[in-house]
């Protein structure tokens, strides 16, 4: 097999152009149906999540005045930041609620509780990552420019540190996301100049200053004698959010069985092929409604990649149909419990620290056929 689809152990099923067109038409039909049905229920849902997030944020900030309630304060603030970044921020910035015409939920205006400026995120995530999903050399979310996450990324002794870099990226995830667009690896490689980063840099610094000032100076100072406790609490909440977001996001694209693609394969691709690539390039995580809420429904990464601008609360209801379609076309629908997907990602990070392009160790967690 030449470099067509990689990362899968059993060859990924190839579809003929006609099959791809049919697949595209079926998925387009789902999209149209959901779009036509958007209305009050979706608005009520997102308003409810926003209300919950705002209350948790206020509660978290206030509870720092009661030192015994410190763990509660941290919990409230952590959940608030997670909801803000995932179910609200990430999804709103995808334009999932733009049809409502509400400025507070508009993709053009939403700013999230994260050091990465949302305008920059919309470019690197919505455009680069969602358009070139899992295309090596294009999708900079593959390893965030610092990790080796695919066999086809050439090995270098630098990658011996793969597990350590991944750990650091997890701890400092929001910073990693903010620095993402500076394309440091391309500067080191001489493909990008520092001057290219000037404007980006200014945007990041402005946002960083605001976020850091709020969490590490202003709110701690407001609690007077509890300054160190509040500071530690805010830092912990940011850390919790970082670790959680990192894990959910890495489970979305890097468990074994997820395919990557080459640039040539994606030249002039049809809508059907784009859907096909999104399907094979993403993985879901099983869980209950609360879990899905906390992941911003990114536990339905497959559905999210197929329909990035449909309100995420719709993913669970269409996932059955998507699985059924996968089954009919013989395509894998990658899903599994959090533990299993995490383990699979961790294994990959460690394995790819060492040289070697393709290895048979990938076998244990191969793509599964559509789950029943």
């Amino acid at each position: 097999m030449t470099s067509t689809t990689t990362g899968t152990t059993t060859g990924t099923p190839r579809l003929t152009p006609d099959q791809l067109d049919a697949l595209g038409a079926e998925l387009d039909a789902i999209r149209q149906r959901v779009l036509a049905d958007l209305g009050e229920a979706d608005a009520d849902y997102i308003h409810g999540v926003v209300r919950l997030q705002r209350r948790l944020e206020v509660a978290g900030r206030a509870l720092f005045y009661l030192p015994p309630a410190w763990p509660l304060a941290v919990a409230a603030l952590s959940v608030s930041k997670i909801l803000d970044n995932m179910e609200i921020g990430h999804n709103v910035m995808h334009g999932q609620y733009d049809w409502m015409g509400e400025p507070g939920l508009s993709s053009r205006m939403y700013e999230w509780d994260n050091v990465c400026p949302s305008e920059q995120w919309r470019y690197s995530h919505n455009y680069i990552h969602h358009t070139f999903t899992n295309v090596l050399g294009k999708d900079r979310d593959i390893g965030y420019g610092i990790l080796r996450m695919d066999e086809d990324q050439p090995w270098h002794p630098y990658y011996l540190g793969n597990p350590a870099y991944a750990f650091l990226l997890m701890v400092f995830f929001e910073w990693g996301v903010a620095m993402h667009d500076l394309e440091v690896e391309n500067i080191v490689a001489g493909r990008r100049s520092l001057a290219d980063n000037k404007a980006l840099h200014a945007g990041i610094m402005r946002k960083v200053r605001r976020q850091a000032f709020k969490d590490y100076v202003l709110f701690p100072a407001l609690t007077g004698p509890f300054f160190p406790l509040t500071l530690a609490g805010n830092a912990t909440a940011n850390l919790v959010r970082n670790v959680w977001a990192f894990n959910i996001i890495f489970c979305g694209h890097f468990p074994a069985g997820v395919a990557t693609f080459s640039e040539e394969e994606c030249e002039d691709e049809s809508r059907g092929h784009w859907y096909y690539r999104q399907l094979l390039g993403s993985a879901n995580i099983d869980g209950g409604p609360l879990f899905h809420l906390m992941t911003g429904n990114l536990s339905f990464q497959v559905e999210h990649h197929l329909f990035p601008d449909l309100p995420a609360r719709r993913y669970p209801e269409i996932s059955g149909e998507v699985q059924e379609i996968c089954e009919r076309y013989g395509l894998p629908y990658n899903t599994g419990p959090l533990g299993k997907q995490l383990l699979s990602v961790a294994r990959k990070i460690c394995r790819l620290a060492l040289p070697g392009r393709r290895s048979d160790q990938a076998a244990p967690a191969a793509a599964q056929p559509a789950a029943a």
Binding site: L38, D42, D44, R54, R55, M100, Q211, K214, L218
Partner: protein
């Protein structure tokens, strides 16, 4: 401004509420609490006319952030239409000039619902007290403020048609309220065109103003009941030197254009449009292709505004006033030349943000939509 709003508007509070902003928290408690945004609640509804296109006057209690308005100004009004779709349109304030936080009125004629869009005006004209409105500050320079006419007792002329009565009514009410002894303090001619007596907005109030000795000459013309349509000759009989009289005109495009022609470029005339001048299909520059990059759609350029062409293809870009005032339709144009249909100005800069409701492509053009 109270101490509380000074605090709420402070930079310290902004830093604490960052990145969402204070208002995103206040609105959770009470929609009429705001530090920066303006919202309002309809507290009273009065039906002015009935029929297929009824007209209602809404009294609005704004948030304390409302800075007030000068007579003749308009405000953008956003309403939540059924299906959780917020839509925004422009409306002139019809009550006398207001101060900060003061109530004001809007007078709205209900248009028919569009094919896919519910009509904002119908929603408003049939709104019940308690309806929440998302507002802007008042804007526009169709005002009497700081014009050469203001400080001296020069005569004034107000010409309007249909619902175009609203801004000039605000002017008249302001003059009567603030003038000496309930007089306008100067000769005012109030010329208004309505289809019929039944369609006459503010009929009682205008009749009362006409009865009193207040220097206001009210002339109501009901064109569907034998009244003569606007003509320069008829106006000259009323105000012989009208071209040298400070004049404000607002109404249907036909009326405004006729008035403009009669004034022949006189700087004494100011007009307000409720609707952008439409560009006909096949207008100048209607060649090439109009492409909408994000949706992958495109069609031959018809010469109409980018908004009209996008909507013809089934796209639903965000809009507000639909006539170049509110900037809510602003979209990135990545390539091509557009003409501003109001000013006629052309612009070819790549990656430029344009108001698609008043921009028509000249040749091929690509939009990030």
């Amino acid at each position: 401004m109270g101490v509380l709003s000074t605090v709420l508007q402070s930079r310290a509070v902004a830093a604490l509420a960052s990145p969402h902003g204070v208002d995103r928290f206040l609105e959770q408690v009470n929609p009429l609490w705001a530090a920066h945004e303006v919202r309002g609640r309809v507290v009273d509804v009065r039906h002015e006319t009935t029929g297929v296109h009824p007209v209602s006057t809404l009294t609005v209690q704004p948030t304390s952030t409302w800075r007030g308005h000068r007579a003749g100004q308009h405000v953008q009004v956003g309403v939540d239409l059924p299906g959780a779709r917020r839509a925004t349109r422009c409306f002139s304030v019809s009550s006398a000039a207001s101060g900060p936080g003061e109530r004001f009125t809007l007078t709205v004629r209900a248009h028919d619902d569009g094919q896919e869009r519910a009509s904002v005006s119908r929603h408003l004209a049939t709104a019940a007290p308690g309806t929440l409105l998302h507002l802007s500050q008042a804007g526009g320079d169709f005002t009497m403020h700081a014009t050469p006419a203001t400080p001296t007792p020069h005569p004034l002329l107000l010409v309007s048609g249909g619902s175009g009565i609203t801004p000039v009514m605000s002017m008249l009410r302001t003059l009567l309220r603030d003038g000496y002894d309930g007089r306008a303090g100067r000769p005012v001619t109030f010329l208004h065109y309505a289809r019929s007596a039944a369609e006459q907005i503010y009929a009682e109030e205008l009749a009362a103003i006409a009865r009193f000795d207040n220097h206001v000459d009210v002339r109501l013309v009901h064109t569907g009941e034998g009244g003569q349509r606007f003509s320069p000759a008829a106006l000259a009989r009323l105000v012989p030197d009208f071209r040298d009289t400070d004049t404000w005109a607002c109404g249907p495009t036909g009326l405004v254009q006729a008035v403009q022609a009669a004034y022949d470029g006189s700087a004494r005339l100011r007009v307000e449009h409720f609707k952008a001048p439409t560009t006909a299909p096949g207008a100048e520059g209607a060649e090439g292709e109009t492409s909408f990059a994000r949706s992958g759609l495109g069609a031959a350029n018809t010469g109409e505004t980018l908004l009209a062409q996008a909507e013809a293809l089934g796209l639903r870009p965000q809009t507000g006033c639909r006539m170049g005032i509110c900037f809510s339709c602003t979209t990135r144009k990545t390539r091509g030349t557009v003409r501003d249909v109001v000013t006629g100005e052309e612009s070819s800069r790549p990656d430029e943000d344009v108001r698609i409701c008043v921009s028509a492509p000249v040749g091929s053009c690509t939009l990030d939509l």
